[in-house]
Amino acid sequence: MNKFKTLSLALSSAVILLASSCSKNNDDPTPAASKLTTKTISDLDGASKATVYFSLATGAEVTGADTASATKWDLKFKSTSIFTNGGTSGTGTTQAQVVSSTFEALTTAPTADYKTDATGAPAISGWYTYTAETAPQHAILATPGKIFVIKTADGKYAKVEMISYYKGNPNTTTAAFADLTTRPASRYYTFRYAYQGDGTTSFK
């Protein structure tokens, strides 16, 4: 009998605790609606064409006449180079910089030090390591802690982390990846990004 008593007591108190914690959440003042969208784009195909254009606002590839637009695309991938829509790369005014951080820890975009693409000096560089003769040989591996912060042509901020240069975002430490005959195809870009649609520098 005692056992049941203890059990029911535990159960009821657990329910109360759970309910109170829920209600606490409900009591929280609703924060101003953040227009932050966080997405992971898998295998953006840059293998079947020379360049692939991407819009952070729509989260989709941009093709056709829109690739000449000043605002309809933000990033352009060409082999291991990543360009922004501005300067020598496009008609827009997109700027970018590379910040050393984890994706999560970067909660506010810097306000200064953005660069526009120029000949031989793109705003985004140093995002990968080429392994040359070191195993896995001749691989392009995204360097950890390189977060791109993009200031788009229409003044919105986004942060981007490159994840993989290979189809299917493979584990690059395996024997299958080290073997050039079984390594997945390159120029398939996987990356995650957070796009702040409200024009603030906050990534929260």
Binding site: F103, T134, A135, G145, T173
Partner: protein, 695 residues
């Protein structure tokens, strides 16, 4: 220095009260026989010398069937032979090979490739013993003696007429043949030694048709002569010549091959005059000239165009006087002065470059009470190119009893910037990057700018700071314990604080997307650990032994950055960035945290059969950075730990004059063809040696 010395003194005085009296004279005379010279540049007993030192005898080396220095050192406790395309060098207390001075009869060998002196250049067939000093010894030897000193002491001839022949042949057509003969009277001796060492090479990727190690053959010639004018004056001359020819073959782009020959030559000449002014006062005048040359001519196999043609010539000249003076029976003073002139001329240098340097050193060896030995000394080096260096050292040993001696030392070590770091002028033809030594950077950048090859200058070469010597402060503390004659146990704790490490960093970007590098005093690193070794005579013919080292080697700047949350890695499963934790940092490349060895030796004097078995374990070590953060942290950045088992069986015939031997190295055929290129797999050798002596 401040921290350890009082500790030593306190320990010494507190135990002095109940320290035992020296009663067993027999034991102490036996110990006196084991003399070492490298730690103090004077003859000291191995038990008393207050510096960590290992002594390997020729007999041990022969029982193990070993013939080259790399083979011998690879089996020693606390030493790792590193696998590097520039040669096989040694790691002591976590230091790279560039920081250990290699001596033959107390004189430095030159001819390093990116700091590595190829140890297989040195034969061990004509030696008496090898002494290995651990910890900085720049207080006596100057530059390079930062991790320690390896001194190869060649054999002195026996009285009368002696001679011998020895050979070893086996796997990979590895062959080593030595001849020696000598004649000695009371006043005079002359000895000659010749060695041929050759190999058919091997390939760890046989399908590629490219050798991992190409075939080579080399010769060592060594002559020594000495004459004693009277009881007080003697003159000694030694000449050593080494030459090695190696064929090489590479695959260059698109199924093209390049091949050719490389030649290496090393010549040393050393006259030594010793004069005893009195029983208490001895002077040694030593002259030394060494020349090291390499030449290589590699051509495309299809059209015989030049692929790479290089030469390198280095000379080293030294004159030195050392005076040993016994002020009192318990106080011996050693002082020396010397001057050096060095040159280098090579394909990768603009013109012939030279260094002039002068030095003086001083050492007091004081035995205030019988059981306490204090050594204090220092050396001042003045140099034509880099800042002067002062390297002090203080060491003490105390015999707590006949059986147990404790020892501690503190000192500074340094390594001068080498010719490469000062004068290199090199552009990689294939990849397109350039490297300039500190002295060449300004002219080099200006030239490239004129040629329109520079995109951006990152660091104005006129603002570069003068390159300083790399330096360390080190502490060693340990004991030697011999409770019974059968057992010998040593241990040593060490810590090395190294600063001003010279590293390359980019100073400009080229229009081809590559960088221009120069050298900087950048990093601060430390190494620390403990080493211990024990030998035990289990029963009459069987001796067992073992050694162990625990090592930590970290870059202080990386540790600080990790603390600040500025070092990242990628999770191999998701490829997402995460911040690195302190515990994930694996330390400097090529350092194994754990190494150990186990040794068995069965020596039956009745039958003349000696069996020797050694197992050498090297724990995993970081060998690459694959996640792009520049440090070792992820599991795939380490090798696997591995064990090598070496064995040898020999039998003596004809009153010990003839020895037949079978030797196996890497008995269980361990290979790691992707990562470790200096492990060819199992090697089996047959050996024979014959020696005679007529009084």
């Amino acid at each position: 220095m401040k921290n350890i010395l009082p500790l030593v003194l306190v320990l010494s005085t507190s135990t002095a009260a109940f320290a035992q009296r020296d009663t067993t004279r027999k034991d102490s005379t036996k110990q006196l026989k084991e003399v070492v010279v490298t730690g103090t540049r004077t003859a000291k007993s191995l038990q008393q010398v207050p510096i960590p030192i290992t002594r390997i005898t020729s007999e041990e080396i022969k029982n193990r069937g070993l013939v080259r220095l790399n083979e011998v050192l690879s089996e020693q406790t606390g030493i790792n032979i590193l696998d590097d395309p520039h040669g096989q060098g040694i790691q002591i207390q976590g230091f790279d090979p560039a920081y250990t001075l290699i001596l033959i009869d107390g004189l430095p060998l030159i001819g390093r490739s990116t700091g590595i002196l190829e140890l297989s250049r040195i034969t061990t067939n004509n030696i008496d013993r090898i002494e290995i000093v651990k910890g900085p010894t720049s207080s006596l030897y100057g530059s390079e003696a930062m991790a320690g000193v390896v001194n190869i002491i060649t054999a002195e001839p026996a009285k009368g007429f002696s001679g011998g022949v020895a050979g070893r042949y086996g796997t990979n057509k590895n062959a080593d043949v030595s001849l020696n003969s000598s004649y000695k009277t009371n006043k005079f001796y002359i000895s000659g030694f010749a060695n041929r060492n050759s190999s058919g090479g091997y390939s760890l990727q046989p399908a590629s048709g490219i050798p991992t190690v190409s075939p080579f053959h080399g010769y060592t010639l060594n002559g020594k002569t000495a004459y004693r004018f009277d009881d007080n004056t003697s003159l000694k001359l030694s000449v050593r010549y080494f030459t090695n020819d190696q064929d090489s073959r590479f695959s260059v782009d698109n199924n093209r091959f390049a091949s050719g020959k490389g030649t290496e030559k090393d010549f040393n000449l050393a006259p030594v005059l010793t004069h005893r002014f009195s029983k208490k006062d001895v002077s040694v005048l030593q002259l030394y000239r060494s020349i090291y040359k390499t030449n290589s001519d590699i051509r495309y196999e299809d059209n015989h165009d030049i692929y790479d043609q290089t030469y390198f010539t280095q000379t080293f000249n030294r004159a030195e006087v050392q005076n040993d003076y016994a002020l009192q029976d318990n106080l011996k003073l050693t002082a020396g002065v010397g001057g050096q002139y060095e040159t280098v001329e090579a394909t990768r240098y603009t013109k012939q470059q030279s260094f002039t340097s002068g030095y003086g050193y001083f050492q007091a060896d004081w035995i205030p009470v019988k059981k306490l030995d204090i050594i204090a000394g220092g050396r001042f080096d003045a140099h034509s190119v880099y800042k002067s260096q002062f390297s002090p050292k203080l060491a003490a040993s105390y015999a707590l009893s006949d059986k147990l001696t404790i020892l501690g030392s503190a000192g500074k070590g340094y390594k001068a910037p080498d010719f490469r770091q000062l004068y290199l002028n090199f552009t990689n033809a294939e990849v397109g990057y350039s490297v300039f030594g500190y002295e060449e950077a300004q002219a080099g950048i200006a030239r490239l700018q004129q040629e329109g090859q520079i995109e951006t200058v990152l660091i104005d070469p006129s603002t570069l700071k003068r390159l300083n010597a790399e330096s360390s402060t080190a502490f060693n503390f340990g004991f030697r314990y011999k409770p019974v004659t059968k057992l010998y146990w040593t241990a040593n704790l060490f810590r090395n604080n190294i600063s001003n490490l010279i590293e390359t960093a980019a100073i400009a970007l080229k229009t081809n997307g590559q960088s221009v590098f120069s050298y900087f005093n950048l990093n601060k690193v430390y190494t620390q650990g403990v080493e211990t070794d024990v030998t035990y005579q289990l029963f009459k013919p069987l001796q067992i032994g073992g050694g162990f080292q625990y090592l930590e080697a970290y870059d202080q700047d990386v540790l600080d950055q990790i603390k600040a949350g500025k070092v990242f890695t990628k999770d191999p499963e998701t490829n997402l960035t995460k911040a690195l934790k302190r515990s994930d940092y694996g330390g400097l490349l090529g350092r194994s945290k754990y190494t150990y060895n186990i040794r068995l030796n069965y020596n039956d004097e009745k039958t003349g059969i000696n069996t020797s078995l050694r197992a050498i374990y090297r724990g995993r070590y970081g060998y690459k950075d694959s996640d792009g953060n520049g440090i070792v942290n992820r599991a795939d950045e380490y090798t696997n730990g591995y064990m090598l088992v070496n064995a040898s069986v020999s039998k003596l015939f004809m009153n010990n004059a003839l020895r037949l031997q079978v030797t196996a190295q890497n008995l269980f055929n361990h290979k790691d063809p992707q990562v470790i290129l200096n492990l060819p797999g199992r090697l089996i050798y047959a050996g024979v040696a014959y020696n005679f002596n007529k009084q």
